[in-house]
């Protein structure tokens, strides 16, 4: 790992990460602001009337507490799809574009092994995702405490978000591995990003109809159980750890692919 290269990549990707944080924070504040136990009841009534529509966006649970309300309206959509888009952008800036435009030649002309370069790429992406998660969690906790002191299960939310990091690692690993393994930029981002999007859509479809429930079990995203993590269920913790481990394995596969492949830069 090279601290100098990681620093350079953090600077290059910080503006996009910051922009995504602003959008996520906006939604987090909005959702917390909208929390109202009586409103939650009416939302629950709507959810009961249109369960498929809500379930399609990962909003499947009757949310009577602030914690459930945040999880219901953030975790399923905002904190899954927006990070996926950010991951695709960061992997593009870090791996795909330099390889395609030729600036990767400058890095390969340095006395740094390919493994060290690729590990630095991965480290920068993971660090920025970790920073985004910490900032998001702090925002959620801060605005919840400001608006509804004592209502939030802080430890539960932290557990749910820590598990969410497993899901982010999995998505980042998949996109990174495909970017390192495939040469044309379309395939480089499309295979990993497309797989993650397909998993997400499968999960959406599974929530819509009973007959499609099997689809939900087939996607790795099903391993993330936010409510189980809040409740401290062991199965949910194992699921999150499995996602993180799969993410780490995909990053390792990406590093190995980068070390071996031809780079015509």
């Amino acid at each position: 790992m090279s601290a100098t290269l990681i620093g350079r990549l953090l600077r290059a990707n910080a503006p996009a990460t910051g922009a995504f944080f602003v959008v996520i924070a906006f939604y987090a504040v909005m959702v917390a602001y909208l929390f109202d136990p009586s409103l939650a009841e009416s939302l629950d009534a709507m959810m009961a009337a249109m369960p498929e529509l809500f379930a399609a966006f990962g909003m499947a649970t009757a949310a009577t507490t602030l914690t459930d309300f945040l999880l219901n309206y953030l975790q399923g959509l905002i904190l899954t799809l927006l990070p996926l888009v950010l991951i695709i952008m960061m992997v593009s800036v870090t791996v795909v574009r330099p390889a395609e435009r030729g600036s990767m030649a400058g890095l390969l002309a340095l006395p740094t092994s390919r493994v060290r370069l690729a590990v630095s790429f991965a480290a920068a992406i993971v660090l920025l995702l970790a920073a985004l998660l910490v900032l998001t969690t702090v925002t959620e906790v801060a605005c919840s405490e400001a608006l509804f002191p004592g209502e939030l299960d802080v430890a539960g939310l932290v557990r749910a978000n820590a598990g969410l990091f497993g899901l982010w690692l999995f998505m980042a690993g998949a996109v990174f591995a495909s970017a390192c393994a495939f040469a044309p930029s379309g395939a480089a981002l499309g295979v990993g990003g497309g797989a993650c999007l397909a998993f997400y859509l499968m999960q959406m479809a599974a929530g819509v109809g009973e007959g499609l429930a099997l689809l939900g079990d087939l996607t790795p995203f099903a391993l993330y159980d936010a409510y189980g993590l809040v409740a401290g269920e062991a199965a949910a913790v194992v699921g999150a750890l499995a996602l993180a481990a799969a993410g780490a394995a995909l990053f390792a596969a990406g590093v190995a692919a980068f070390a071996r492949r031809d780079l015509s830069v």
């Binding site: 030729g102 030649a105 400058g106 006395p111 780079l263 830069v265």
Partner: protein
């Protein structure tokens, strides 16, 4: 080829990209302290060879080594003492030259002497390091690439069309720099399609055509006609533009001039016959003619 031990070596290097693209069975060696030109037309295989030497791509067959190390497997070690200027230079556009060069220096673990040399090179090429790379002209970006490639006083230099984009004065300064590096003892492989550049900096020239090494000549004895024949094949040299249906100049081709030879169009033919190869080969940035440019 020199009898001295090889620093840069390709043995049967083959990288086949299909449809005749790539390099095929390329074998050459560059001895320590030697400067060798690698001349070829566009698409002849110069850059593929450079990429193989840089360890960017694996040879499909054969081997490439620098200072006895395998270029792909030992790339990181080789780069410690190697300076590289890519043919199609791409730099991070969001950085200033100063920040980029500082980044390169840190990645190389540069000492104070190397930083001084970096500053001296930037001064020599009149590079304003405060400018963002994205706002630089091609020539100015090339200067950044040159400073980055030479700053650590490398023992081996791989230069792929290094004067691309430089103005005449900076081309001259680059030639001076390469000569100074050669005097310092650096081993240089300079890929180019400019005869003058090779004549002024190199001991000998390797000619590559269609991905194959076709000839090797002392740089001092290169003539434009021979060079063209090596680069493009004898059959492709000396052709001139003949617009379909037009006379050799303006006017009606069917109307014979008062002093025209017997056959219509013969004036064009005779003019074509007298045209030398140099009339049709305009080497961009080639300051001197082949005669003037001979290495002294």
């Amino acid at each position: 080829m020199s009898a001295l031990p090889a620093v840069i070596e390709a043995r049967g290097l083959t990288k086949d990209y299909g449809r005749g693209r790539g390099v095929f069975d390329v074998t050459f060696a560059v001895a320590r302290g030697e400067a060798v030109g690698f001349l070829g037309a566009n698409g002849a295989g110069k850059t593929v060879t450079m990429r193989a030497l840089m360890g960017f791509i694996r040879p499909g067959a054969g081997s490439v080594s620098i200072e006895g190390r395998r270029c792909f497997a030992d790339r990181a070690r080789i780069q410690e003492t190697l300076g590289y200027l890519p043919g199609e230079l791409a730099l991070p556009e969001d950085m200033t030259a100063k920040r980029y060069l500082a980044f390169v220096a840190r990645m190389r673990g540069a000492d104070e002497a190397q930083l001084r040399r970096m500053r001296a090179l930037a001064d020599f090429f009149e590079l304003d390091v405060r400018t963002r790379i994205g706002r630089m002209s091609k020539g100015t970006k090339q200067k950044v690439g040159i400073v980055a490639a030479f700053a650590h006083a490398p023992r081996v230099l791989l230069l792929d069309e290094p004067t691309s984009g430089l103005d005449l004065l900076m081309q001259q300064r680059f030639v001076e720099l390469v000569r100074a590096e050669k005097r310092r003892g650096a081993t240089i492989l300079l890929s180019s399609h400019l005869l003058g550049e090779v004549e002024r900096t190199c001991d000998r020239a390797l000619f590559v055509r269609g991905g194959r090494l076709v000839s090797e000549e002392p740089a001092a004895s290169l003539t434009l006609e021979e060079t063209l024949a090596h680069l493009y094949g004898a059959g492709n040299v000396g052709r001139s533009w003949d617009a379909p249906g037009a006379a050799c100049a303006s006017g009606d081709a069917s109307a014979p001039a008062p002093d025209a030879p017997d056959a219509p169009g013969a004036a064009c033919a005779s003019r074509r016959a007298s045209a030398s190869a140099s009339d049709t080969f305009d080497a961009p940035g080639d300051v001197r003619t082949s005669g003037e440019g001979r290495a002294s």
